[in-house]
Amino acid sequence: MRLFVDVTLSGVANGMVFASLALALVLVFRATNVVNFAQGAMGMLTTFIAFSVLEHGVGYWVAFAVALACGLVLGGAVQLLVIRPVQSRPPLNAVIVTFGLLILFEGIAGAVWGNSNRGFPAAFSQSGLTIGRTKVAFSHFDVFVVLAVTLLMTAMVALFRATTLGLRMRATAFAPDTARLLGVRVSRLLTLGWALASLAGSLAGLLVAPTTSFSPTFMDLVLVYAFTAAVVGGLHSPPGALVGGLVTGLALSYVGGYLGGALEPLGALALLVVVLMLRPEGLFGAPAARRV
């Protein structure tokens, strides 16, 4: 029972992190029909930037803000410089470009900061909360993770639902040609979409790094888990990313807790297969998701 509670709690915390990276994948996918496989590596890069800023003796929250701002800029720059030129070609070309960026960023991070594992500070204590008289595997930092991702999700939903900018972005995502005819500056909004997604990815990096040892490849597994989460949620739906993240986080935590951590990646693969066979459009996807 004790184990079950702990495993469930850590599943929730992990799930929220997956959700924020899954949200990044969904935002980009909705807008450009491309899964950005470099999303995790971009979050890794901004986490290293935060690390360098911290090394200079600046406070934690400054580093945190710098990382998010760099994420925003990096996302926009990537879209402008390398994605836009291949946008007119089939999505496959853009996928290859993002994969190239993935290893390019990992190589650059390794060249600048080295390939070794490091520790990263957390915003709040990682000591477990005491409920009753027992300490549980859920810390102040985990509470922060849940709140930060919830805040991000809420802000994104508010942006899309309640502002004209959000409306334009949705229009751009679903019917770019029509939107363009209606005077929406589609390419500028696509850049903005990438920037916002990259912000979410940077947040994921900052939230994962303290709970693990971070290195140029530390986001690789997080990325594929977030991909799993995004597919579970339906790939087009931001709320789906949240639910998918939680489902994936819990499922992997149970696999790790009861069957062994070695089976977690395989568990994610099994989850993907099951979802694709039973409900390929995901939990939140439109039933006829076959787009051509």
Partner: protein, 473 residues
């Protein structure tokens, strides 16, 4: 993530006695070298014939991870070995032959090891590989080197696979992991009798071999929980495993973990307030290696300082095994000599890492090879060096706490050591990377085989370099 390591560390700056001891041992290696070198020049130019050997040089090689995730720490070993070779060469070489050491990067990827080892054999024409690192990497070339009859000496790994009649050209060097496990198990059996014991081990050959040794010594009924982790997916804290060990009520927790996993086990233990007696295999117990992983959490900006303090607190009191002298034992002549060699002949290694578990390992291993070369005589052949190791290694003067146990049937080096404890009251280990808690010695030196045999007291090694070598200096 690599699996060898040997953990340990410690020491402070050399004292006046250091330079004296240095001269002793320094001469140690040089010694016979210079003398025999002189005779070699005059001697018949005949025989040799083995690849990589000329009358004035011997070329040896190795593949080690200089890049990639396994490289931190392990990339110090080969450069540290060059401290010994540089010193030997400055004193005329062994039997007049200077040692050329070619080490190539394999990034801990066995298919790269295969290619680079063939390059060493076919292009560089090495006499032998010496101090190549890793279990998966070196098993990949074991049958190739044996088929080519190229000595594969002193593989840096504790796999049981280096002593195998099928591969007569291969030898290990550090204790087999099963020996680690037996030594730790025997200590737990006699000092924690009846206590509930739990294991957390890496689910591969390294962890399983340690557990095999533990199980030979600790009664099965005493072991209440066996947790594992997978090194390939090692990323987050091992919270579930530590929670399970706590739930099972284990009072003694044995970790057969690589350094990163040791840190990732101690952190969640601190998180849930779990404070058992930690007994950690030498592979993952080196304070200069584990310490930075833990203390990086103390960095400013966040409330994690309390956690880091608690985790570093767990490092204190940790019990482990050692087969080389603790680096904080400033009175040990081998420690003094190793520092001097590194400072004089590998200055960049010395100024970056100082004497830590890895550089100490490199010096000791290189020194073992110099002894083997010396014993192989003037007429150097591959068969000759294997025979010298098999027949006279027990008499080699090396820094190891037990004598080398090589024979014609045993291809392991050190099969024993002592049990030590990390202690805040011991002299600290000071390296350029920081100051870390040192060791106190808990038991006399013991030895055992990886097989069924018991753990027995060892006569230990000569604490000083042999007098003969001293005189020659």
């Amino acid at each position: 993530m690599s699996r060898l390591h040997h953990g340990r560390a410690g020491s402070e700056a050399g004292s006046g006695a250091g330079s004296r001891a240095y001269r002793l041992v320094a001469a140690g290696a040089a010694a016979a070298i210079v003398v025999s070198g002189l005779t070699a020049v005059a001697g018949p130019a005949g025989a040799a014939a083995s690849s990589g050997v000329t009358s004035t040089s011997v070329t040896i090689g190795a593949t080690v991870p200089l890049t990639g995730p396994a490289s931190p720490g392990y990339d110090e070993i080969a450069p540290a070995m060059n401290a010994v070779f540089g010193w030997v060469n400055a004193h005329g070489g062994v039997h007049g032959r200077k040692i050329r050491y070619v080490y190539l990067d394999d990034g801990y990827n066995p298919s790269v090891t295969a290619t680079e080892t063939r390059k060493l054999v076919l292009q560089n024409g090495v006499f032998a590989t010496v101090g190549s690192l890793g279990t998966p990497t070196q098993t990949a070339v074991q049958s190739y080197l044996n088929a080519e009859k190229v000595p594969q000496l002193f593989v840096e790994s504790g796999c049981n696979c280096w002593s195998n009649p099928r591969d007569p050209w291969t030898t290990g060097w550090q204790p087999p992991y099963t020996v680690d496990g037996k030594l730790l198990g025997a200590y737990i059996r006699s000092h924690f009798a009846g206590e509930k014991v739990g294991y957390l081990y890496q689910d591969d050959e390294f962890g399983q071999d340690v557990v095999k040794g533990l199980d030979m010594e600790i009664p099965r009924s005493q072991v209440v929980s066996r947790q594992t982790y997978d090194v390939a997916t090692l990323a987050g804290p091992l919270s579930n495993q530590m929670a399970a060990l706590q739930a099972a009520g284990a009072k003694v927790v044995v970790l057969a973990t690589v350094p990163a996993a040791t840190a990732l086990a101690l952190l969640p233990a601190a998180l849930i307030g779990y404070k058992p007696q930690f007994v950690v295999d030498a592979v993952g117990a080196d304070p200069p290696t584990v310490g930075p992983l833990l203390s990086s959490f103390t960095r400013k900006g966040g409330g994690s300082a309390a956690l880091a303090t608690a985790a570093v607190g767990l490092l204190d009191g940790m019990i482990t095994n050692a087969y080389l002298p603790p680096e904080n034992d400033a009175s040990d002549p081998w420690i003094q000599v190793s520092k001097k060699l590194l400072a004089d002949y590998a200055p960049s290694v010395w100024s970056t890492y100082g004497l830590d578990g890895n550089t100490e390992y490199g010096v000791a291993l290189a020194y073992t090879f110099v002894q083997a070369l010396q014993a192989a005589g003037r007429n150097l052949t591959r068969q000759g060096v294997m025979a010298a190791i098999a027949h006279s290694a027990k008499q080699f003067a090396t820094p190891g706490l037990v004598p080398l146990s090589y024979s014609s049937s045993v291809h392991f080096g050190y099969e024993g050591g002592e049990i030590v404890q990390v202690s805040a009251s011991a002299p600290p280990i000071v390296t350029p990377t920081g100051t870390f808690p040192g060791f106190t010695v808990l038991t006399p030196v013991e030895r055992t085989s990886p097989g069924k045999g018991p753990v027995v007291a060892s006569k230990g090694r000569e604490s000083k370099p042999p007098a003969k070598l001293v005189r020659t200096a």
